[in-house]
């Protein structure tokens, strides 16, 4: 399992390389014909910050080569903001006095109708950590209902056992998104003081369980701002490499959530500025040329536009982070503030203007759901 692999990996040489990298080292990596995982420390060094243009040019060439002139869009659907955890940085923390709501199946179908009309076929179901999801097969039945309407269904909820993921896959689940938040066990304990989320290794091994259960798309990441960004980036990279090798049938995507203002008013101890943020994403693109890099509407429009032309291949658009918000205006509190509030159409139009075709659908949902063979014929 990854938790053991991580414990046994010596990051000393990487941290040393990053600290000692000079201009010549950076140039040498940027001109290599094949960039490897071992080159990540140099790409993430402070020295490399003065080579961002070169980094961007190469990342752009690699991204276009591997992904073509396309970008995939997805949208999150918040089904509940109830949560039994007390994460210091999150608007859904159980410590926050805020209206809570879990959508019923009819409300979810209404939201999905609206979402489909916007063009989306990739849906991410999001929820706070609430036991309701597994009661009366709630989550399973949502997935079964939605499977025929979406090409790819992912979840971003609490970690589950392998048997639960297996059941959800049979219902039509395609992907699991789960961020470790921070790979530093000490920081992790500080910011996740109570609730099931305080279990660091269980969370860390989630993708092993999900992939073993047959989940096709796994999406990992660290919440930038909680811990030292280079520390976190090294571990996200190792996690990605581990998953690609150990679970070769699954696709691994990497997200880059960056701390934002939320209900919790938590101040990030390691804020990541735009240049550093861009550097991290570009470094990942060079070291992982085939993996989707994901950027949500947490980030501002201008930054998203530039990153989508050089590294990012999977983006959300028109997002709302509060349950019921696509169809109603008076809704319970959202998880965090969004920066890119452009409409889906505006975003699509800007992407097109930048020479990128929007790919709404890139999978057939019925490939995942074993029990709905009858739905083969559209």
């Amino acid at each position: 399992m990854f938790s053991q692999f991580l414990r046994e990996f010596d990051f000393g040489p990487w941290h040393q390389k990053a600290a000692q990298a000079n201009d010549a080292d950076v140039s040498a990596v940027l001109t290599k014909s094949h960039i490897a995982l071992d080159d990540l420390p140099v790409l993430l060094s402070s020295q490399c910050l003065s080579h961002l243009d070169a980094l961007a040019k190469r990342a752009q060439a690699v991204t276009r080569q591997r992904f073509g002139n396309t970008i995939q869009l997805y949208i999150p659907l918040y089904i509940s903001n109830r949560c039994q955890n007390a994460c210091l940085y999150c608007g859904f923390s159980t410590a926050n006095r805020t209206p809570r709501k879990t959508l019923g199946i009819e409300e979810i179908l209404d939201e999905c109708n609206h979402i489909r009309n916007l063009g989306f076929r990739n849906l991410l179901l999001v929820s706070g950590e609430t036991p309701e999801l597994l009661q009366n097969n709630f989550l399973e039945s949502i997935i079964k209902h939605l499977a025929k309407d979406f090409a790819s269904l992912s979840i971003e909820v609490q970690p589950f056992d392998e048997s639960v993921y297996r059941t959800l896959c049979e219902a039509g689940l395609d992907g699991v998104t789960l961020y470790q938040e921070t790979y530093d066990p000490l920081v992790y304990t500080q910011v996740h003081p109570s609730g099931s989320k305080s279990n660091y290794p269980y969370r860390l091994d989630t993708m092993d369980r999900a992939a073993a259960a047959g989940v096709r798309k796994i999406n990992i990441g660290a919440l930038l701002g909680l811990g030292d960004p280079v520390y976190e980036a090294f571990r996200v990279a190792l996690h990605c490499r581990y998953l690609l090798t150990r679970h070769w049938r699954s696709s691994v995507a990497i997200s880059f959530p960056r701390m934002r203002e939320s209900e919790s008013r938590y101040r990030a101890p390691y804020p990541v500025d735009d240049r550093r943020f861009i550097q991290i994403m570009l470094a990942f693109r060079l070291v992982f040329p085939d993996q989707d890099l994901v950027l949500s509407t947490r980030e501002p429009a201008a930054l998203r536009d530039v990153l989508s032309s050089i590294a990012v291949t999977y983006m959300s658009a028109g997002s709302k982070t509060s349950p019921g918000a696509y169809t109603k205006s008076d809704t319970a509190c959202s998880q965090f503030e969004l920066e890119d509030t452009r409409s889906v159409e505006e975003i699509r139009s800007t992407l097109n203007a930048n020479g990128l075709d929007v790919v709404w659908k890139d999978w057939n949902q019925n490939l995942n759901a074993q029990h709905i063979l009858q739905a083969e014929v559209p």
Binding site: G68, R249, K361
Partner: protein
């Protein structure tokens, strides 16, 4: 150029093209037209049959034969399911079989490809399987009723050209159906090389779609495929290691 026949259907062009990775449907359509191809392949996982502006709406299927592909299928069962789905939706019975369980290199699973071919041929499909350049597998697929074999030059999208030359030569030598070199052809010269080896056709996608000028690149590939085929038919002399007089015995025999 001499005509190519696959499963009884005649093609003037020996260049087939894929439709992914283009910056827009319009550019894709123009590039396809510039290639002068007779057959276009589309990943069914990209097709939203319910949407009016899906990828198919950009193509004129009176001009091009439509070859749906099962890209994304991870095993024979999934590939068969995708093929049946397309036949139910559009009536197409041709299918390009891609069974690729590993999502990074998208290399084909030979065993599952063979299994899917057997099943689909039995169901009346015209099957064009994408394979590693494996001569034994190629013969097995032909025995199973595949209408072509499509060995890769190098991994999909890698643009590395023909890295499987020796095996492709064997496949061509032993083939009883057309051989289409598919995947990894990154430049028109790679396509010409495939044709000079004796391939019956090539399939190109990424190299055209991500070129700075996809329309010009499509045209370049068209010309390269024609040149390669002409060279093959003109029976290019085998490369010699040493300089050779045109006929070492000529003078001797004349004077004998």
């Amino acid at each position: 150029m001499d005509r190519l026949v696959i499963a009884g259907k005649e093609f003037d062009s020996r260049l087939f093209v894929g439709t992914g990775k283009f910056s827009s449907g319009e550019v894709m359509a123009k590039a396809v037209e510039a290639s002068a191809t007779g057959m276009v392949t589309v990943a069914l996982r990209r097709v939203d049959f319910g949407a009016t502006d899906n990828i198919l709406s950009f193509l004129d299927f009176t001009k091009y034969h439509f070859l749906p592909n099962t890209s994304g299928a991870r095993n024979a069962a999934e590939a068969v399911r995708i093929a049946r789905m397309c036949r139910a939706a559009r009536g197409d019975t041709w299918v390009k079989l891609e069974v690729t369980p590993e999502p990074r290199y998208l290399l084909p699973d030979g065993g599952e490809t063979l299994r899917a071919t057997e099943a689909l041929v039995k169901e009346g499909f015209t099957v064009l399987p994408y394979i590693q350049a494996d001569p034994v597998l190629a013969k097995q697929l032909q025995d199973a009723g595949a209408s072509t074999v499509m060995p890769l030059g190098s991994p999909i999208g890698s643009n590395q050209g023909i890295r499987t030359r020796d095996s492709i030569e064997i496949i061509i030598e032993q083939a009883t159906v057309p051989v289409v070199v598919d995947a990894g052809l990154g430049a028109p010269s790679h396509a010409a090389e495939a044709m000079e080896l004796g391939a019956d056709a090539v399939l190109v996608n990424t190299a055209i779609a991500v070129a700075g000028d996809p329309i010009a690149m499509a045209q370049a590939f068209k010309i390269a495929v024609e040149a390669g085929r002409m060279a093959f038919l003109a029976k290019r002399a085998a490369p010699q290691r040493t300089a050779q007089a045109s006929s070492p015995l000529e003078n001797f025999l004349r004077n004998a």
